[in-house]
Symmetry: C2
Subunit: 314 residues, 2 copies
């Protein structure tokens, strides 16, 4: 048995995960950022002990604890270098939790952990596997030969910051033309707002009013009801996602690409369009095609992935 | 001892390579494309035997033969699927050479072989290594954990066909905005011609006349003499290369990126500019930077890489 902890901006979630990646017990507490580093860590020790007890297990039944944390992570030494959203920096998080539980603790970047979770459950032991998460930003994780690929300094797999338009949109990272500046949900909302301004009669206005805000769903909901301006937004957005997916295909030709993040709940309506555009930019014309799928684990990916990433390192 | 064979569009080159990657003897014959498949293969058997004899060795002193071939390669089964430039398709090349020499023969895509050669000699056992070759096209090879990374269907590492400009220049592959359409020497020549049209007084005209053609060197030679239009061409070209190099950095954060192809002979004049632009698009701000170097093996990379790729599979 293993424990996985997902340190998110909103909640700290933990679960006991069995050998097959099944979550046996699960619990969460609010992150309440920004607090002192030790308080987060103390909550993580507490919640780990809670899910272990809830499962009717003893500490000694657990082989390791894996933690997925946002920001810049030193997974070798178990330290959080710098995590803006929760205000943690230069903190030996793994050691703190190890001291509090007596268990081996391994730290991982949260996107890498989620990727490893999707890989463990949906990867079928793939030789190469790419996970793309479309959210506030565009994150990703790469699994090669069953191991998380991190690059020599641990900051690899920043696939959201590959350039798809040299003189394109400004990205939050300060550069221009990043995939994230086109394919994140933040970008989709910007694209939706622009289309709404240009199309004052679009159904998107009514739907946004009803929801109280313009969201990632506004254009999708209106498009499904036949609104032409919204259909254009969705089509363009799918193209932006597709171009980046095709870049991953042309580089990796992985066994599988899985697309996660809240927007992946749009399911086949979005996936079929992403596939169409990815295929337009796919260089491979003769061999078997890469499988592209929507994620299935959603929030559980973080817990399972953190647990399994640690399991692989015990 | 190992034999490496590089099946190129112009020459078939072979060499005996020792354990350290040193070429002991080397020979080549003209490819004379397009001929029947068996004639190429017969020449490869002949030239392999010649370099072995030239080295004062017997067939039994050689552990394996590695072959690098252009086009779409099935390296598992040793077959050339489809190689337009030499008109070879669906041919069991490895088996033919095995029958002719009695040695184990392994086939590899030529860009992968060259990448593996550069890795073997200049990679210092890097965990991850990316080779970019700027020539008629933009090719590449990826080495991870000491193995050539090919993707699940063997057509991976087509880094020249990653999109850097969604609605950009047309690429020879039929798509638009590929890195190759900006950073190949073919693209550089197109960029040079355009600048020459716009700048009838540029020194580039005189240099092209002297050389008898516009080449990849025209803009570089003129820029080094202070020609402003040429300096702009070089600067833009370096930016195009740099954007794609940064994409490789943001994805892989490899220990090293090596840039090959004839243009790499421009040395630090080009490299310093590529580094500047790659750094502009590099997401990593806090950790140690990826090493970017020019290739050192040039044509020998194909022979050494083919030999060592086979060596790794014996």
């Amino acid at each position: 048995m293993y424990v996985g902890i997902d340190l998110g901006g909103t909640n700290i979630a933990a679960g006991v995960v069995d050998e097959n990646g099944k979550i046996l017990t699960q619990a969460s507490v609010p992150t309440k950022a920004i607090r002192p580093n030790e308080e987060y860590a103390e909550d993580m020790v507490m919640i780990a002990k809670k899910v272990i007890a809830d499962a009717g297990l003893k500490i000694s039944d657990i082989k390791s604890i894996g933690v997925g944390a946002p920001g810049s992570i030193d997974s070798i030494n178990g330290k959080v270098y710098d995590s803006d959203n929760i205000g943690m920096d230069d903190f030996a998080l793994a050691e703190y939790i190890k001291n509090g539980t007596g268990l081996p603790v391994f730290l991982e970047n949260d996107a890498n952990a989620a990727a490893f979770g999707e890989y463990a459950i949906n990867g079928n032991g793939a030789e190469s596997f790419v996970f793309v998460t479309l959210g506030t930003g565009v994150g990703g994780g790469i699994v090669i030969d069953g191991k998380i690929f991190r690059g020599f300094n641990g900051t690899g797999a920043e696939i959201g910051h590959t350039c798809i338009e040299m003189d394109g949109e400004k990205c939050t990272c300060g550069r221009v033309g990043c995939w994230e500046a086109y394919a994140s949900v933040t970008a989709l909302i910007r694209q939706t707002r622009k289309a709404m301004e240009e199309n004052p009669m679009s159904l998107m206005h009514e739907l946004a009013d009803k929801e109280g805000k313009v969201s990632g769903r506004t254009s999708f909901d209106a498009a499904k009801q036949g609104d032409e301006a919204a259909m254009k937004v969705v089509e363009n957005y799918a193209r932006y996602v597709g171009v980046g997916v095709a870049n991953m295909i042309n580089i990796f030709q992985p066994n599988k690409i899985v697309i996660g993040g809240g927007i992946s709940k749009e399911g086949d309506y979005l996936l079929s369009r992403i596939k169409k555009y990815a295929d337009n930019y796919d260089y491979n014309r003769s061999q078997e095609k890469v499988k592209i799928e929507m994620a299935t684990l959603f929030n559980d990916a973080g817990i399972i992935g953190a647990a399994f990433a640690a399991k692989a390192r015990v």
